[in-house]
Symmetry: C2
Subunit: 248 residues, 2 copies
């Protein structure tokens, strides 16, 4: 068997998320359908670096799969793109060792969250950014960021629905950039809990509108209780931007 | 009665075009539905500067309607945006004289056509640009443009389905700009026939790939026969950008 790593991009708008669910259109379903065609009806299981929710986008999700075929990488790319629907694109295929695992070997991830600040709503951004036409104090948001950096128990910033036990994660970078009417948050970290980026954004927006003080963020971390953090920002603003691996 | 002019924007992806058609979701249908709610069930007829086809977008379509209500412009804007689906936005409302007509008084229009040149397909552009990952000689395209400028009978660049008799139109500007992996055509003219911009783009792309010579465009105009021009470029690349009126 040969193992292949793929970097993929998808527009999450028409998907019920990444992971297979009964009766739903998901990214994993479409990937496995395409690979089954290439493998003449044989089931091929795809493993991703992690799930993304309904409406959430990916610029650089990573998956791997095993195959008895050993086509060159470009042929895999062409064959898969030809069979996939046009809201998923295979950006790159690479043959990797049997030890590589898209999820277990990921050493970190970058997520971005896009917020449209324009007063008027923009039909072209409705599925690609969170429309937030309110005054924001970006200095207050920037003052809150240092409290979140580093290694913390992020229980307060994690959906109560999660089954993961260990809620300690490390955030290496949070950056806030304004670009052409869009406010872009960049989060780089060791890994992120279920809904963590969206709850971080929802909480930082409450700091930006003055509903919370920058230092409240430190207290929310301390509480280890989801109910103290802000609202979960909507999925359509979120992009899984890149997945990092230490040893290729 | 009071007459209101509105500048509207819509993402054409989920519409079967602008104009009402039985059993189809159209922009006009949604506008008239919203206005009917504001008018407590009374029918309000909306007139646009012109139709747009399925999948075609608008950054600045213009419509007008009559109402017995005389709300300030901002209240119309808020009320309509609150009732419209989020793929249509009212950008501006203005009270105009009873003589104003969105279609008959339009003195010109600007259309833009977006082409994605990237070799890899981009899931985020699939509904918003025409993916054309082939080598293009933009000098050849620019050499063809002067043959199209000015006043001509555009029968060759018009869908054979059209019912309009007079096919003489004036193109005042055609500009080609490359921006961040997108090739953007700008067309400004007195008015455009059915499918005219899309057939012009399809033909200019054939000049760009070398299938046609720049001077062929002059011959195609002469023929007054649709079959000599290039293919109709797909709808998702087309944007009705602005409608001009001489006397506001």
């Amino acid at each position: 068997m040969h193992r292949y790593k793929c970097i993929i991009s998808y527009d999450g708008t028409q998907f019920a998320g990444y992971q297979v669910q009964p009766e739903k259109r998901t990214v994993q379903l479409e990937l496995e359908k395409a690979l089954r065609k290439i493998h003449k009806g044989d089931e091929v299981r795809v493993s991703a670096s992690g799930r993304t929710d309904a409406g959430v986008h990916a610029m650089g999700q990573v998956i791997h799969f095993d195959s008895s075929y050993s086509f060159p990488a470009e042929n895999w790319e062409k064959a898969m793109n030809a069979l996939l629907p046009d809201d998923i694109a295979i950006l790159r295929v690479e043959k990797v060792s049997q030890e590589f695992h898209a999820r277990f070997h990921a050493s970190g991830k970058e997520y971005r969250y896009m917020i449209s600040l324009s007063k008027k709503r923009d039909p072209f951004r409705r599925n690609y950014a969170y429309h937030f036409p309110f005054a924001l104090d970006s200095k207050a948001i920037k003052d809150a960021i240092p409290f979140l950096l580093g290694t913390h128990d992020f229980t307060s910033f994690c959906s109560a629905k999660t089954e993961v036990e260990d809620k300690v994660r490390t955030i290496r970078e949070i950056e806030l950039v304004e670009d052409n009417g869009l406010l872009v948050f960049r989060f780089v970290g060791s890994g992120f809990l279920y809904n963590m980026v969206r709850i971080l954004v929802g909480t930082l927006l409450e700091v930006g509108t003055g509903k919370k003080k920058p230092s409240d963020v430190a207290e929310i971390l301390e509480k280890k209780d989801r109910s103290f953090a802000g609202k979960t920002a909507p999925g359509q603003g979120l992009y899984l931007w890149e997945v990092f691996y230490e040893n290729k």
